[in-house]
């Protein structure tokens, strides 16, 4: 018997503050005016995407002690933009990245519960952890959290937020005008949470929202991140975009769910992806190469190399060979405020691979960086890209993808107009929203489901 056909999930990532985003493109618009956010969100909704996603950064990045100026700089407040977008969209999920280190559960929970009310059930929270003292310099408590406690705090932060969301069941408001009873439960919203991170109690101030709890997203790819997702998230923005590696990740993460009493469908796997479209596959390859050169200028290549080398390489020629010395190990001192530098877990091994590749193909620094960083995930004609996406989803290498266009805000139009109809023709992507809430779009319950907070 053949497997039932899986439905593809799609999310739209507002282009971020890294070199994927080509701000020099003549079509590139503002990254801060609200109209850009409206444009991308409305395109995503027109194409029936599951959700719209905003990343977060709480300190402008620096490299070599100076504010990094080669990429887009500046972004709005996540919650505020999403609340604004709730006014100009009707069904699209609205996902925000909110840090569990430089916030407090009561305030974050009331903002997400408010956003869920204001969007009639479309709020999602990408829980991220950070710890660095560099970011902490913008906040009351500074760099208070040791790196090895960041997941512990994130877990208890989320658990506490759930207790707050669940402190209202949804039936407390009587609003009986005759008797004058507004709350039939005069203890509605009562909570108490005491642990090493949070010592709080009282009454939560936002009645139960349409989704009960916002959809929880998680982006970490590390072992800790996967475990956190398996325990607590409704969707994970990680994974691999090749068939075999994707399947391995998928099996691994979905295999972790059972121990938390969850079924595989309760976690949607949405790897981040980029795309380049053209009429033919050959044209798309050519276009992809042009875009890669826009994304990686000579200056950018040196900066990206410095992020691995952890050294000042400004005297190197991007059109010349790699440095003849190894990366500097230990504390990262060159690039700050950038999560990706922490992902270089074994700089010496990566440098060795890069050096071998450069020697084998006779690549300059710039050409090497173009090859080894950020190559587009889906390159081809609309037919090729639609087929590839569907193949990866049906083969359980992913449940869908979160797509980051490289041009703001119109970069998703082509995908919406050309690829989405092909997925719809194949019967693997919705032609209309079936539900009204994001939980319904993703097929993850949670309103009246198992009370995970109680465990």
């Amino acid at each position: 018997m053949s497997k039932p056909v899986k439905q593809v999930h799609l999310a739209a990532h507002f282009p971020g503050v890294n070199n994927t985003t080509v701000w020099s493109d003549p079509r590139a618009g503002s990254h801060i005016e609200f109209s850009s956010f409206v444009k991308l969100a409305q395109t995503a909704e027109r194409a029936k995407f599951d959700l719209f996603f905003l990343a977060e950064g709480l300190r402008l990045r620096e490299q070599g002690g100076l504010i990094y100026d080669l990429d887009v700089v500046g972004r709005p407040d996540t919650f505020t933009v999403l609340a604004g977008l709730a006014a100009v969209t009707e069904r699209l999920g609205l996902a925000g990245t909110i840090n569990s280190t430089f916030n407090e559960p009561f305030d974050v929970a009331r903002q997400f519960a408010s956003l869920d009310h204001l969007s009639a059930g479309r709020a999602a929270w990408n829980v991220v952890t950070s710890w660095d003292a560099f970011t902490g310099e913008n906040f009351r408590r500074g760099g208070f959290l040791p790196q090895d406690q960041r997941y512990a705090r994130a877990k208890t932060f989320l658990k506490t937020a759930w207790e707050l969301f669940d402190s209202w069941r949804g039936d407390e408001i009587a609003a009986d005008r005759e008797s004058g009873v507004y709350l039939r439960d005069d203890n509605a919203g009562a909570f108490a949470h005491h642990d090493e991170h949070f010592d709080i109690e009282g009454r939560f101030s936002v009645p139960r929202s349409p989704q009960g709890r916002p959809v929880i997203l998680q982006a970490g790819d590390s072992d800790e991140g996967r475990e956190f997702a398996a325990e607590a998230a409704d969707a994970i923005f990680a994974g691999q975009r090749t068939l075999e590696a994707g399947q391995e990740f998928y099996r691994d993460v979905k295999g972790r769910l059972a121990k938390y009493g969850r079924t595989p469908e309760q976690l949607v796997i949405l790897p981040a992806a980029t795309f380049v479209l053209a009429d033919t596959d050959a044209d798309a390859q050519e276009r992809a190469d042009v875009i890669r050169h826009q994304q990686v200028s000579g200056q950018t290549a040196i900066k990206l190399l410095e992020q691995l080398w952890n050294a000042d390489l400004s005297s190197f020629d991007p059109d010349g060979p790699l440095p003849d010395f190894d990366p500097v190990l230990g504390e990262h001192t060159v690039a700050r405020g950038r999560a990706s530098v922490r992902m270089h877990r074994d700089p010496l091994a990566i440098a060795r691979q890069w050096r071998e590749l450069a020697e084998e193909k006779n690549l300059s620094i710039r050409e090497l960086i173009i090859q080894v960083t950020g190559r587009q995930s889906f390159i081809g004609s609309p037919e090729t890209v639609a087929a590839r996406i569907n193949e990866l989803v049906q083969a359980d290498a992913a449940d869908g993808f979160i797509l980051a266009p490289h041009v703001t805000p119109g970069g998703l139009d082509e995908f919406a107009d050309k690829v989405v109809p092909l997925l719809q023709e194949r019967g693997v992507f919705r032609t209309e929203y079936e539900g009204t809430t994001l939980r319904e779009h993703l097929g993850v319950d949670g309103i009246d489901g198992v009370d995970r907070a109680a465990r």
């Binding site: 701000w23 020099s24 801060i32 609200f34 950064g57 709480l58 402008l60 504010i67 100026d69 700089v73 500046g74 972004r75 709005p76 407040d77 919650f79 505020t80 933009v81 609340a83 604004g84 709730a86 006014a87 430089f102 916030n103 009561f106 305030d107 009331r110 903002q111 408010s114 956003l115 009310h117 204001l118 969007s119 009639a120 310099e137 913008n138 906040f139 009351r140 500074g142 609003a175 005008r177 004058g180 009873v181 507004y182 709350l183 039939r184 005069d186 509605a188 919203g189 949070f198 010592d199 709080i200 109690e201 009454r203 101030s205 936002v206 009645p207 929202s209 200028s297 200056q299 950018t300």
Partner: protein, 389 residues
């Protein structure tokens, strides 16, 4: 116009036409703000706190017999912003337990979403219920009455001093990007001119903030800052940091006293040259006749089980009489008024369809918006950036 639930009277939610069941839906808030906008009001404020509502002036009705629970004010304002076009949006932000970095970018972003109509009303949180929701500090003995009498050092005076630091950080962060910092210079590959981004390097008794903001300078440069002032210590805060100070005179003679207090503090703060508006707060119960207004308020009081109390003057009467009072108090030194409708929609409509035409009949209120930013409506120029060379 000051919006809070379905009106400021604790029994307002029981009125037959009150949209009590829609308090947690966006549509209600959009409708009431649009109604205020159609009447060309300068701005609406939205109340907020970090706890369930309670009302120290009406303790008898606290608890399950009044509206409990509310949505975040900044997010509600942002939800309304794209569906309105001219009216100012001034949510309340608590400045005691929250992060100035987050609130600064939130208000800047509200200014982007509303294209230049954002303000903020800063509120200290001196109460133990809000404090226990954060669990990060000892508040000490809070004596509100004493803080109203004098500005002498006390735990609550500290909260107001902290609020002044907080607003200083908001304002520095709003200026931490010069207007032309984004250059998109393809020739040099630079998106920003980093010389036009500034560390604010704020270091104070309660917190330090490095900066710059992650959000570029908002359309108005500096969104409008406002605060409510009863007595000495809160007036000092408003006079030090705000563009609009709300005061609560009980009668005309009290108008002189409260305005003088703010002006004296303004002088002491070295801001004598700055425009600081002093707005009078009033709770209003309106009717076609004075008797009708009184009867309606009496009915609300009866349902609440106690006579309504307020920090502000309670006006009960006709729109024409209210117009007389406002013009009289205006002549005594108030630049404007923040009206708190006793019950919505009744008193909201009394303001938009009764008071506004009455004021216009006397040539004392706009017939159309004369500016497209909140600063513009308040006669405040777009300020120069403190960091610009």
């Amino acid at each position: 116009m000051a919006l809070d639930g379905v009106g400021w009277h604790p029994a307002a939610w029981r009125e037959p036409e009150a949209r009590t069941d829609e308090l947690f839906s966006a549509g209600y808030w959009v409708d009431v703000v649009r109604q205020a906008e159609a009447a060309k009001l300068d701005f609406v404020t939205l109340e907020d706190s970090l706890a369930l509502q309670r009302d120290i002036y009406n303790p008898a009705t606290d608890g399950p017999r009044r509206v409990q629970g509310r949505l975040d004010a900044v997010l509600t304002a942002a939800r309304v912003a794209p569906l309105t076009s001219r009216i100012g949006l001034v949510p309340t932000a608590v400045v005691t337990h929250t992060e100035p970095f987050h609130v600064s970018k939130a208000i800047a972003t509200l200014d982007y979403v509303s294209t230049g109509r954002a303000g903020v009303r800063v509120r200290v949180a001196p109460f133990e219920d809000e404090n226990r929701h954060f669990g990060r500090r000892e508040l000490g003995a809070v004596d509100l009455a004493q803080a109203r009498e004098s500005t002498a050092a006390s735990p609550i005076a500290d909260l107001f001093d902290e609020a002044a630091d907080y607003v200083e950080v908001l304002r520095r962060l709003w200026d931490s990007w010069e207007d032309d910092a984004e250059i998109r210079d393809a020739a040099t590959g630079r998106f920003v001119d980093r010389d036009k981004l500034h560390y604010i390097d704020f270091e104070g008794r309660w917190f330090s903030v490095k900066g710059p903001s992650i959000t570029p300078r908002p359309p108005q440069g500096q969104p409008v800052v406002s605060s409510l002032a009863h007595g000495a210590t809160p007036s000092r805060l408003g006079a030090r940091v705000a563009d609009v100070v709300y005061v609560t005179p009980r009668d005309r003679a009290d108008v002189d006293t409260t305005v003088d207090l703010v002006r004296a503090e303004q002088e002491k703060a070295g801001r004598a040259q700055d425009t600081v508006h002093v707005f009078g707060d009033l709770v209003v119960f309106l009717g076609e006749t004075t008797q009708a207004a009184r009867d309606r308020k009496a009915r609300l009081d009866e349902r609440a089980g106690a006579e309504y109390g307020s920090d502000a003057h309670i006006f009960t009467g006709t729109p024409e009489d209210l117009a007389d009072l406002l013009l009289d108090w205006h002549a005594a030194g108030l630049s404007g008024f923040r009206l708190r409708p006793g019950a919505v929609p009744h008193d909201l409509t009394g303001i938009t369809d009764g008071l506004v035409p009455a004021l216009r009949g006397r040539g004392a209120f706009r017939t159309d918006y004369e500016a497209d930013t909140l600063r513009g409506l308040l006669g405040l120029a777009r300020p120069a950036n403190r960091y610009a060379a």
